[in-house]
């Protein structure tokens, strides 16, 4: 667990590079933990891509860095510490790894470089109005056309950032006459195809994060079918493995705790910074201690993966506890702010820049225990597959 001189030097290199590479307007936002806009995120993505650091976890032949586990930790820690914009996961962490594992050569060459470069933005089309936790009951129809391609009809929902996306990866029903898991295919659809309509929802966080996405006679060429027809469910399940370490949100939580401490440093109670109050410090420490334990679980999970081992049972807790901790962090931030936590998208100066988006995030973060497989569903899975409990 101690760092070799090479790793120490690597940390230095990463830190200096981030310092130099992050444009002034992003740094200014990072400095006060302001919310990043989609354009900010993509700008940072392209800067990382130009350096070759957008997808360290990808295989080298597809543009990964070939770093060892320790370097990847160090890299992530430095990004987190600098408050850099977190990149959109849909291309880099979801469809990218899935394509690397299951797509044909043409598909890899067509899609992976543009994901890596941040030239094409992706969204995820799994959920439907009547297929949430019970995802396999999805009904978006993909009928086979005369030319062997597909025609899509139906609706997806909760599609995060569909309003910005060039492409969507979809689960669609290609055979309605078999067991529900068996008639699903994995398709890639250009969002600019005629018949695709996107309508953003306002979330309780006050921002339009996710959308309703309709498909009306939308053509998808055969070449955009990933893997075998009717095998989409298998691929989607394999992808869930990739998401595990990601959804723990350890970096986000660490960043939120730091932000909370900074707000507490600037908030005076009886003339003294709230951060100096031992009771309050203990409150933050309780959450931080859990976060440290969870971070260790992430380390163990990634280290096992690096050695080519199947993830241990411990990795299954990452989503569950990680999202609870994310929520606890924002609870603390709201508490620190006191009356200022009432503030909702007001002009600059009503509350400090660091506090501006806290109430919005506090509301939006409720989603963390719902998306990517709700925490109740996570518990059902762990109970059945890890604890071996009946039925």
């Amino acid at each position: 667990m101690s760092y070799s001189p090479e790793h120490v030097a690597f940390r230095e290199e990463v830190r200096e590079w981030i310092q130099a590479a992050m444009p002034e307007h992003l740094r200014a936002k990072a400095e006060v933990d302001a919310a990043f806009a989609h354009a900010d995120v993509m700008e940072w993505h392209r800067i990382l891509a130009a350096k070759g650091w957008a997808a360290p976890h990808w295989p080298v032949e597809h543009g990964g860095t070939g770093w060892d586990t320790t370097r990847r930790f160090i890299f992530n820690e430095e990004l987190e510490l600098a408050g850099a914009p977190p990149l959109s996961p849909f291309g880099l962490n979801m469809v990218g790894p899935l394509l690397i594992q299951f797509a044909n050569d043409w598909q890899k060459q067509r899609f992976l470089p543009k994901i890596l470069a941040g030239e094409e933005v992706w969204c995820q089309g799994y959920s439907e109005p009547n297929a949430g936790s019970d995802l396999a009951s999805l009904q978006l129809r993909a009928d086979t056309a005369a030319d062997g391609g597909f025609v899509l009809n139906g609706q997806k929902t909760w599609t995060t950032y569909a309003q910005y996306a060039h492409w969507i990866f979809l689960l669609a029903r290609t055979d309605p006459n078999v067991k529900k898991q068996q008639g699903i295919s994995f398709l890639l659809c250009d969002m600019r195809t005629p018949g695709v309509t996107v309508k953003p929802f306002l979330t309780t966080g006050g921002t339009p994060a996710f959308c309703e996405t309709w498909f009306e006679n939308v053509s998808v060429p055969r070449e955009n079918l990933v893997g075998e027809l009717n095998q989409g469910w298998t691929y989607a399940k394999a992808l869930l493995g990739h998401e595990r370490t990601l959804v723990s949100g350890v970096g986000i939580s660490a960043r939120t705790l730091l932000r909370t401490k900074r707000i507490a440093r600037d908030k005076l109670v009886d003339g003294r910074p709230l951060l100096e109050d031992p009771t309050f410090r203990a409150k933050i420490a309780r959450v931080e201690i859990e976060l440290e334990a969870l971070r260790m679980v992430v380390y163990r999970t990634v280290a096992a993966a690096q050695l080519g081992h199947a993830p241990g049972a411990e990795s299954s807790i990452l989503k569950l506890r990680g999202t609870e901790i994310q929520q606890a962090c924002f609870d603390l931030a709201m508490e620190v702010m006191g009356h200022d936590s009432l503030s909702w998208f007001n002009r600059d100066g009503v509350v400090s820049a660091r506090e501006q988006s806290v109430a919005s995030s506090f509301n939006y973060i409720r989603a963390a225990t719902i998306y990517a497989g709700s925490n109740e569903i996570q518990k059902n899975i762990i109970a059945k597959y890890i604890l071996g409990l009946p039925g």
Binding site: F73, E292, E314, R321, P390
Partner: protein
């Protein structure tokens, strides 16, 4: 970063596991808890012969030099079946300061027989007023020519009733809560002026109340620098806390397993109670806490030897707080999910509940470690 066990460590885990399974299942602890000693000297000797008692001590002190992780791995396995031998109290709590601060001659005299399993050692540092403060010492050591004379009272000396030697903290200078002026001495348990009274702990383990009435020791019995004992004690207490986390991790994992088995076997309403979703989710919540305890304990086991005291304290306090709070959830729900049988002395789950409670209270409790964690410089880093 590599969390794979080395070949030596794997072998160690396997041998301890097979010992606990064959030679020391929970029934053994159940049988021994009613006896005068509470554990067996023959088994202690066996552990010495197997090399377990010296695994973590440096080779220069007569140990195997495998590092503290090795001791933690032993403790984790011993914890799983509540093995009563005084590994945590004797090897870790009392052995660590002796190994760290003792002279080669002291290692030879007091540590070597411990490593061989011929003797047991206990740390006598707690006093009525001391709570978790290692510098709160009112026992006095005064000079008597070239020797020292010790007078005072110690409480809750873990496994002190069966110890051959006691490592005693006593004040050689300074006022009652001053860090400077605390010194450590090795006293023979059988020496004139030492009065040991055995007391029972709620978990079936035993401790001693110790009275020292002008106990005379020569200068060769002073461990570490005169007046510099508080830092050595803190090191010992952090090792013991990390050890408690390791033992706790083994104990909690077993308590979860027992609960899991019970959920599958116990039927109500015509079905295994483990088929009820409310109980499945509770079991998963227990599983989450067990995994966090294991990971936090591993980090503490690794970091406890870190030359930076702040790194050591950070990891140990985090793990100990996790053991106390997360672990409490596990054993409480384990009891709850067993129903009425869970609160009988007859069922083993209660033994796990009690051992956890004791481990949580020792070497700094939840509040102590949370407060310490929050007072470290790392807490304010980058703010």
């Amino acid at each position: 970063m590599d969390f794979e066990l080395s070949a030596d460590e794997k072998l160690l885990v396997e041998t301890v596991q097979s010992f606990t399974k064959k030679d020391s299942p929970v029934e053994r602890f159940r049988r021994l808890r009613g006896t005068e000693l509470g554990w067996e000297r023959a088994t202690w000797k066996q552990m010495g012969e197997l090399g377990w008692l010296g695994v973590s001590f440096p080779e220069s002190a007569g140990g195997a030099g495998l590092g503290f992780v090795a001791a933690g791995l032993v403790l984790e396995q011993l914890g799983a079946t509540l093995v009563p031998e005084p590994f945590l109290s004797s090897v870790v709590l009392a052995g660590t300061p002796l190994a760290a601060a003792g002279t080669p001659e002291q290692h030879e005299r007091f540590l070597a027989p411990l490593i061989a399993g011929d003797t047991a050692l206990a740390l006598a540092h707690v006093e009525a007023q001391s709570r978790h403060d290692s510098a709160s010492v009112s026992t006095r050591a005064t000079r008597a020519g070239a020797a020292w004379r010790l007078t005072g009272r110690k409480r809750w000396v873990l496994d002190g009733h069966g110890a051959d030697h006691l490592l005693v903290s006593a004040r050689t200078g300074g006022s009652e809560r001053e860090r400077d002026g605390v010194s450590l001495f090795v006293v023979d348990a059988a020496q004139p002026g030492v009065r040991l009274e055995r007391v029972d702990c709620m978990d079936g383990h035993k401790a001693a109340l110790v009275e020292l009435d002008g106990v005379e020791v020569d200068a060769t019995r002073l461990v570490g620098p005169e007046g510099g004992g508080a830092a050595i004690l803190d090191l010992a207490l952090d090792h013991a806390a990390a050890g408690a986390c390791a033992e706790g991790a083994g104990l909690l994992a077993r308590a979860l397993d027992m609960t899991r088995e019970y959920l599958m076997q116990r039927k109500q309403f015509g079905a295994a109670i483990g088929s009820f979703q409310a109980l499945q989710h509770r079991a998963v919540d227990m599983f989450v806490e067990v995994e966090l305890c294991k990971s936090a304990a591993l980090l503490a086991m690794i970091k406890v030897s870190d030359p930076s005291g702040a790194e050591r304290m950070r990891a140990v306090s985090a793990a100990k707080a996790q053991l106390a709070r997360g672990g409490a959830f596990v054993v409480r729900q384990a009891t709850q999910l067993h129903g009425g049988i869970g609160v009988t002395d007859e069922h083993d789950i209660g033994l796990y509940f009690k051992r956890h409670q004791v481990l949580a209270a020792l070497f700094g409790d939840f509040e102590h470690h949370v407060a310490r964690y929050a007072s470290l410089p790392s807490f304010d880093a980058h703010v």
